[in-house]
Symmetry: C2
Subunit: 350 residues, 2 copies
């Protein structure tokens, strides 16, 4: 059966995954069975061939490099660099790597490069909170941002959940220390004002204004925008708390024979929650703002998780994520080089 | 039996608590039984007298004021303002209010005023993570801070857990998006460098460097320092995630008769965790950096929680929290007006 992903080519870096290149090759074979074509970069002698998967021998790995930017520059033959170059040259439509987020970010920015008019790339993670999934960005590509970056992140995140998760008109919120528009740092206040000014007429998403930390799990927004510092802390706090509560359930379940049975039944529900909160869970982290989409599944994923990341990358391509982002930003006058880079209300003489 | 709190006088604002002034009066009576003297400000006709409790009729409440700073200025007769003035004039040693954090912050800063050499007050919340209690500050007094503020927060938080929680040599960490010293915003990098330069010789706490979001529950630090924006988001994320997981346990427990029994046994453990994470739980939020200590129990606390807040405020007084903070900051050359306000290594000609 034909699927929208048929014919999409995804460049996959086989180095860096905890289970090794063979597991990534198996994932590539699974994705290829669904109609995605895969260019697989890694040690050829450690990967099995499969229909729809083209193996490119690239044994050098920089997944563990302490300085990914330097490693990207110094190791042009590294698998992630080769995979990124294949995307940059148009041989593939998207990039997937089971390696480190840092290496993907470096290779993506240096080789695929930013999309026209984008200030900064961002890492977005869809968090499958039970009943209230939410996509958080930036979770760490940029420790510091300016208001116009947050504005672009809002459009980038909205386009992601539209194209990949199929949410037609996502609700987008800005993370702050209070719901009122007057709450937040100067950065947040300015981004809030800019989004309010721009989004009024926009059909591409619903702007819900400031949201609070409790709203990561409350379901008031499909996309929550923040700087990479706060986003990183937020994601890791969620991970830590869910991990700790899972431990508390385990301990409580061990406290008596009666609770043990109940605890064993409850644990999977909580474990799913914890796993979903993984920084690179739910298909992985999405690297947005480049000329092509990048997806970073977690290093510890098995072939199932990695193949899902490849399929979701292909879905982003067929859903025209990059084009959709550009169109929405252009319509909002929020592209970097656009003469409309200020909202209309502020460029007219007052 | 004599206790260290004997003779300590705490000014208590009876307005603002969800259960009303009568509940706060009952809490005051309980604290007085432990040897604390209480000056109780609120509507005299709604509060029962008790030994050791002196009632001051102050019926006006600004606990629900939208603009607490303005309300503090415009309502000099308000109970929280009167209570703060009693502390400012030396009639009481510490301030406790069951009202809003905003009102306490405003009345505290405007009437009790900052301690000499303190840049900014901070709100600190001891979070009783099971097995790994941690005190987080600032959780919202300052949305934006400078590096020297974070340095002071480290000393203020350390003195709090020494004086009130009895941790002799607390481990203090700085919240960042990575453990390495090179991780973080310019603010965090600068605060990290300043703390590293100052704390080397200090005996007052152990500086553990950067900590991550997962470390809110990992037990690597007794005190975690951050700006009020990140701290507020962090605390609310913890609240939201624990609340959501408690709901997931409830749902899972309802899914079968067998799991129901186990679920009922597990719920208290998780509920304790959730309640502990309350923004003003664990005795309440501590307002640090003023000439006297302030404590804000959560508005929904019963007499037991509020009396605990009064006792902990008294413990902070007898533990010489304010003096301890000043001494440590002075020794570190981190007071505002100090000629040693830069670490020695940077004031010497190089």
């Amino acid at each position: 059966m034909a699927s929208p992903q048929d014919g999409v080519v995804v460049a996959v870096d086989a180095n860096g995954a905890d289970l090794g290149p063979a597991e990534v090759a198996a994932a590539a074979a699974m994705a290829a069975e669904q109609g995605v074509r895969v260019l697989l970069f890694g040690p050829a002698d450690r990967m099995d061939p499969a229909p729809g998967v083209e193996i490119v021998d690239a044994p050098i790995s920089i997944a563990k490099a302490a300085d990914p930017v330097r490693a990207t520059r110094q190791e042009p033959g590294a698998s992630i660099v080769q995979a990124a170059l294949a995307v940059a040259h148009g041989d593939a439509d998207a990039l997937v790597s089971g390696g480190s987020t840092g290496a993907v970010l470096a290779a993506g920015v240096l080789r695929i490069k930013r999309a026209p008019g984008i200030y900064r790339p961002a890492l977005a993670v869809p968090i499958p909170v039970p009943g209230n999934p939410v996509t958080l960005l930036d979770v760490g590509a940029n420790a510091e941002v300016r208001p116009e970056h947050l504005v672009q992140f809002a459009y980038m995140g909205a386009a992601l959940v539209q194209a990949v998760l199929g949410i037609e008109r996502p609700r987008v919120g800005l993370l702050s220390n209070g719901e009122e528009a007057i709450k937040g740092t100067p950065l947040v206040l300015e981004a809030h004002a800019a989004l309010t000014a721009r989004v009024l007429e926009s059909a591409s998403f619903e702007w819900v204004g400031n949201v609070e930390g409790t709203d990561l799990t409350s379901g008031v927004a499909d996309v929550i925008v923040t700087d990479g510092f706060t986003g990183n802390v937020t994601l890791k706090v969620m991970e830590g708390v869910s991990q700790t509560m899972l431990g508390a359930v385990r301990d409580a379940a061990m406290s008596s024979r009666r609770s043990k049975a109940g605890g064993m039944l409850l644990r999977p529900a909580l474990r799913d929650f914890r796993d979903g909160l993984d920084p690179e869970g739910a298909g992985g982290a999405y690297l947005l703002g480049l000329r092509r989409l990048g997806v970073v599944p977690h290093g510890r994923f098995t072939r199932y998780g990695i193949s899902r990341a490849i399929l979701l990358a292909a879905r982003g391509v067929s859903g025209e994520l990059v084009e959709r982002t550009h169109t929405a930003l252009e319509a909002a006058g929020a592209l970097k080089s656009s003469p409309m880079s200020e909202p209309a209300s502020t460029v007219q003489p007052s």
